[in-house]
C-alpha cells in the first residue's frame, strides 16, 4: 500500500527567503497527523506545495502519485481547506458545492452534498448566497468544498479558526468519522487541545525545518526533562530572576515552571520564602501538550 503523503527533500524559497528547508516525512494511510508550528513556521507553504499552488524543489507524492508528473491524479486524491477564507460571492452554498464537484469530475452527488451540509451544520443555508454567510459559516463551506469528492487525503489548514465551540465539536466528530472510514487527515491548528484530542501523530515545523514524526505518546514522553510542572500564582510579585529560564508559560500572576526533579519543588519554594514572595495558589501538574510544544521550540 502506498503512503498517503510522501515529502522528500522539499525546499521552498520566496526570492531569497528560505521558507522550507529540506523537509522529509511520510504519512501512512489512515493516520490523523498534526502539523504544528508557530506563525510563519512554513505550514501553509508546505500545504501549498502539496496542493500545486506553490512551486518547490524536491518530491511530493499523494497516494503514490507525484504531484508534478501525475498532477491530475494526485490532485483528485486530496481535498484541501486553505487557511484564508476565499469564496465566490455570486453563488449560493449549493451552487458552490455543485461547481466544486464538477471541478473534481464528480456528478450526481446530491446525497453526499446533503450529508456534508448536515454534518457541518449548514443545511439551513443551502440556498443562501455565500455573501450572506458569517465568517465561521464561510470557513465551514470551504471544508465542505474540500470533501465533495471524498478525497483519501484531507488537509486542513486551521479549519476551526473563528468557528464556535458547539459547531467545532460537531465538526471534529465528522472529521473523526471520516478518519475512521479510512481517510487520512493532516491538520494544522493553533488550538493544541484539538491536537491532543484528535491526532495520533505529530510533526513539528520550526523555521522551515521539520522535526521527526512522532506518535503523540512519544511526543508527550520525550525527555527534555522531568515530566511534571509547578504552577504557582503569586501575590503581587513576579518570579525571581533565578527562575526566569524555568518559566514555560505565564498568565498574569500565574506561572508554569519547568521542574528538573521532585527536589526542584523544594528549592523553588525555598527561594520564594527567602525573597518573601507570597503564594496564593500552587499546583503540581503533568506537562500538557502545549508545555511540551513550547519546550520543543526551545524557549
Amino acid at each position: 500500500m502506498s503512503y498517503a503523503l510522501e515529502i522528500e527533500n522539499v525546499s521552498k524559497k520566496y526570492k531569497d527567503f528560505v521558507a522550507l528547508d529540506n523537509i522529509n516525512f511520510k504519512i501512512e494511510q489512515g493516520d490523523f497527523v498534526g502539523l504544528l508550528g508557530v506563525n510563519g513556521a512554513g505550514k501553509t507553504s508546505l500545504i501549498f506545495s502539496i496542493a500545486g499552488i506553490n512551486k518547490f524543489s524536491g518530491k511530493i507524492r499523494v497516494m503514490g502519485y507525484d504531484v508534478v508528473k501525475d498532477e491530475i491524479k494526485a490532485k483528485l486524491s486530496m481535498g484541501i481547506v486553505p487557511q484564508e477564507v476565499a469564496i465566490d460571492s455570486f453563488l449560493t452554498v449549493h451552487q458552490t458545492l455543485k461547481i466544486q464537484s464538477g471541478l473534481y469530475h464528480v456528478q450526481n452527488n446530491e446525497k453526499w452534498i446533503d450529508e456534508i451540509l448536515e454534518r457541518l451544520s449548514l443545511t439551513d443555508k443551502k440556498n443562501t448566497n455565500t455573501r450572506a454567510l458569517s465568517g465561521g459559516m464561510k470557513r465551514r463551506l470551504m471544508v465542505a468544498q474540500a470533501l465533495v469528492h471524498k478525497p483519501p487525503l484531507i488537509i486542513l489548514d486551521e479549519p476551526t479558526a473563528g468557528v464556535d465551540v458547539e459547531i467545532r465539536k460537531n465538526f471534529w466528530e465528522f472529521i473523526t468519522d471520516l478518519n475512521h472510514q479510512g481517510h487520512t487527515i493532516l491538520l494544522t491548528t493553533h488550538y493544541l487541545e484539538e491536537v491532543d484530542k484528535l491526532c495520533q501523530k505529530i510533526i513539528v515545523l520550526n523555521k522551515g525545518k521539520a522535526g521527526k514524526q512522532q506518535t503523540k505518546h512519544e511526543f508527550m514522553n520525550q525527555s527534555f526533562s522531568f515530566d511534571k510542572t509547578l504552577q504557582v500564582t503569586l501575590v503581587n510579585a513576579t518570579v525571581p530572576n533565578e527562575l526566569k529560564q524555568k518559566v514555560l508559560n505565564q498568565q498574569q500572576n500565574t506561572y508554569i515552571l519547568e521542574l528538573a526533579s521532585d527536589d526542584d519543588i523544594i528549592n523553588i519554594l525555598n527561594l520564594f520564602r527567602q525573597q518573601n514572595i507570597k503564594i496564593e495558589n500552587i499546583e503540581i501538574n503533568h506537562k500538557s501538550l502545549e508545555d511540551i510544544f513550547m519546550q520543543h521550540l526551545g524557549r
Binding site: I72, P82, A86, F90, K98, G102
Partner: protein, 251 residues
Amino acid sequence: MIGFNALLRREIRRFLIIWVQTILGPLTAAFIYELIFGYVFRNVSTGIEGVTYATFLVPGLIIMQVMINSFANTSSSLIQSKYNGNIVFLLMSPNSPALVILAYLVAAIVRGIVVAFAVFIGVCWFSSVMPYSFLISMFFLIIGAAICGGLGIIVGIVSVNFDQIAGFQSFIWTPLIYLSGIFYNVNSFAPLWRNLAYFDPILYIVEGFRYGFIGEATINLTFGTIYLLFLAVLINFIAYVLFKRGVKIKY
C-alpha cells in the same frame, strides 16, 4: 470534460448574474452612440455605394461591444480571483491548464455572442440592416471574441490590481479601437494613420464582421482572416503558457 463544464458554467453565471451591467450596459451604450453619431454624421459618406452612415455604424457598434465584453470577462474574472484569493481553488483543481484556459475562452465567446444579440436589439431601430451572411458575421465575431478574450486572460494574469487593467484599457485598447474603423471608413484617414491602421488587428475584426452585414469591405479580407487566425492562436497560446507557468499566480 466534467471539469471543463463546471468551470464554463461558473464563468457564464458570473456575467449573467450581473446582467444589468454586462448586457443592458452595452445595449444602452450602443443605443446612445447610434442615436447621436447616426444623427450628427447622417450626411457623411461611408465610401460604400448605397450604405448610409447609420447602417455602416450598426455592425461596428455590435462588434465593439463584443470585443470590450469578451476582454472584460476573462480579465476581470482572473484579477478578481487573484484579489480575493480564490484562485487557489482553480490551481488546486485537477484540471489541465489547457482545459482551464479553454473554459475561460469559451465563456468569453459566449458573452460576446450574448452581448452581440443584445446590442443588435438596441441598434436595429436605426437602420433596416440585416446580416448579409450570418455565418461570416459569426465567424468574425467568434474570432474577435477569442482574440480579445485571450488578451484578457494575459492581462488578468500579469496585472496585480484593477488599476493595471484600467491602464491597459486606456493606453492600448482605446487607441486600437479608435484606429479600427468602427466609426469611419479607414480609407478616409490621412495616409500615415491609414498605414498604421493596417497593422491594427481590430480593423480586420471590424471589417470582417461588417462584411457579414453589408456584403462589402473596404480592405483585403483574405489577408485579414489569416492574420486574425494567426493572432488568435498566438495570443491564446501565450495565455496558456503564462497560466501553466503560474506567472504572478504561483509563488
